[in-house]
């Protein structure tokens, strides 16, 4: 039993250190692993800011004296390279870290599924900062926790906004069929939009790797009576889709989920084409008061730039949520941390809205921010809490 031996050795070394040196040095760190796609693919534009948010919160906690009477958080960040097999390997490496308290990671459901299953088997809690499938806890098990709202909530919010505020009645739906996130998002959007009385003019599908949307655009143009497009897309195709729709001279409103919360959305089509676009995301980071302001200022001080998107705030919240659970549990034992996480009744320091796991659910219910893009500039339009 290699790891047992190793942790015993660590405990022994720690007790020797207590005997010899000052107590501050002797404190065992709290190990937390962070799994993100930072080096490859469009997801890196979400995962990179998330990891920065996680690191920032860990640093702030450590600077303030750590947790549980001076124990420092030791964060191990592992790059999952935009490959679900890498994510599983990374999760294996992470759960092998002695006395790991919890794992954090991912902005996409497919990746969260690949990593979280190994944490579930190892009995260590896994908190995803940005994967939004509401079915994740049911699919993975009791170690799976979500920081963001579920896709049902954001898609319902967009459907209600489209029907009631934008006044749309007959929309086209484009879906990336290669991702769990996008297929779920479309399903929830269509469900609520048709329940409200709207109709779906055409449903078209593509795959993440596709770059040529000319055939889909031509079909959109040839469909009569369409008054909007819901593009269920990840960050890879966000900018390309807007560019190709607008280049064909189609000026209809384009709607999307939080997969559009990437700078590629405005930079790829350019400011003239990236306009009349609406997308849902997690409560916005530019707010001037409370935890959001603290976060924004700390982020700017640490990285020299404003938070890129809401995913930076989600990473920050994921780390904060775990720290809160460890404090309430009074221990960094993964079993105790899981119990404390499940009992979260209102973690109010969150930038993206108070997190509470009600009635055994491990998906928080939070308001949805609707962002509006005009001439390449993204701004908060309104906040929606969909009717349940």
């Amino acid at each position: 039993m290699y790891f047992n031996w190793k942790s015993k050795f660590a405990a022994f070394a720690a007790s020797m250190a207590i005997a010899g040196a000052s107590p501050a040095v002797a404190q065992e760190p709290i190990n937390i692993a962070a799994l993100y796609n930072v080096s490859s693919g469009g997801l890196a534009s979400l995962d990179g800011p998330s990891l920065n948010g996680v690191k920032l919160k860990a640093k702030m906690i450590n600077d303030a004296g750590g947790l549980l009477d001076g124990r420092m958080i030791e964060l191990t960040a592992i790059d999952t390279k935009d490959d679900t097999r890498e994510a599983a390997t990374a999760a294996q490496r992470a759960v092998a870290i002695p006395a790991l308290a919890a794992g954090i990671g991912h902005s996409d459901t497919t990746f969260a599924l690949a990593s979280a299953a190994l944490f579930q088997t190892a009995g260590i809690p896994f908190v995803t900062s940005g994967a939004t499938s509401p079915d994740l806890p049911a699919m993975v098990g009791d170690e799976m926790f979500l920081v963001p709202f579920g896709d049902d909530v954001q898609a319902h919010a967009m459907a209600e906004y489209a029907y009631e505020t934008l006044g749309l009645r007959n929309v086209a739906v484009w879906t990336d069929n290669a991702m769990d996130y996008t297929t779920g998002l479309s399903k929830y959007f269509v469900e609520r939009f048709t329940a409200l009385g709207g109709t779906i003019a055409v449903q078209d599908v593509y795959m993440t790797a596709d770059q040529d949307f000319s055939a889909l655009v031509a079909r959109l143009q040839a469909t009569t009576g369409v008054d909007g497009v819901f593009a269920s897309s990840g960050p890879d195709t966000a900018g390309i889709i807007v560019k190709q729709i607008r280049e064909a001279g189609i000026s209809l409103p384009i709607m999307a989920g939080d997969g559009f919360d990437t700078d590629l959305l405005t930079s790829v089509p350019g400011p003239t084409l990236s306009t009349n676009v609406y997308f849902t995301t997690h409560a916005y980071v530019g707010l001037e008061t409370g935890p959001a302001e603290t976060f924004r200022k700390a982020y700017e001080a640490e990285y020299g730039i404003a938070p890129e998107n809401a995913f930076a705030a989600l990473g920050y919240d994921a780390m904060g949520l775990i720290a809160d659970a460890i404090t309430r549990a009074g221990s960094s034992d993964p079993k105790a941390v899981t119990e404390a996480l499940a009992a979260t009744a209102g973690y109010a320091d969150a930038v993206t809205g108070t997190i509470a796991y009600v009635d055994g659910s491990r998906v928080p219910s939070k308001p949805v921010a609707i962002m509006h893009v005009v001439d390449g500039a993204v701004s908060l339009d309104t906040t929606v809490t969909p009717k349940s």
Binding site: G42, A178, S214, A218, A222, D236, L264, V268
Partner: protein, 298 residues
Amino acid sequence: MGSAYILSQIVNGVILGSMYALIAIGFTMIYGIVRLINFAHGDIFTMGAFTTLASLALIGLPFPVALVVVVLTGALFGVVIERIAFRPMRGAPQVTGFIASLAVAIILENLLVMTISAQPRVFLVPEYLNRLVSTGVITIRVIDLAIVALAIVLMIALVFFVHFTKVGIAMRATAENYDVARLMGINIDRMIMLAFAIGSGLAAVSGLMWGSKYGQISPFMGLLPGLKAFVAAVIGGVGSIPGAVVGGYVLGLSEVLFVGLLPPEYSGYRNAFVFGALIVVLLVMPNGLLGRNTETRA
């Protein structure tokens, strides 16, 4: 489904086909002369896109100059890769070269990831290329016209070069039979190098076109177009330049029409359709549309 709709889908297919055809020509030339299935060809395409980005955004060259720079750097990449990775393996079994080309592909991709990260990059072109041209029935952009025109000009020039110039004839002779070509006083090393230079230059230009059209490039962008160009070359008959052109257009058109004419539920399976078509062609016409039995070379 009106005729304007079908016409606009055909136009989309022709534009996509032009890019496939240009990549496929390089593929087929290299195969024709050294019997090498060059899987690094798609990465030369990627290199072309990144070279364009560098010359436009970093150095600030005007677009037409960048075009020339891209052709030359693409050709240089091809020559260097041939010299380092493929020439030492000449005469070895075909599979050795195939593995070497996979290695080159992975090295090039990782080199790009290490030097400029794997995040997708924005690819901006001068405003005049994005202007819309309306013919009444269909509306397309200047860049789309430029892609088709440039592809056709390059292809005609290449066919002329290969068939009517002395160097072109020497190249064809080398493709036909190394030993006899050498007896005729042809420097076959130089001919092979030239095939790599031309093929890679064309792949690099298609990278430029791809980036200009779609506006976003990444180190792994060459994977799918590279594989599809391979399919186009096989459909047309590997080793035949007119075959690669025909194959490229057949593939581009059938891919777009597959999406455009079938119900939208099937749109996601366009790539499955492309590779399915490859299997059908190989079963029905093992030598492709315009190919001949290439395994009988002396």
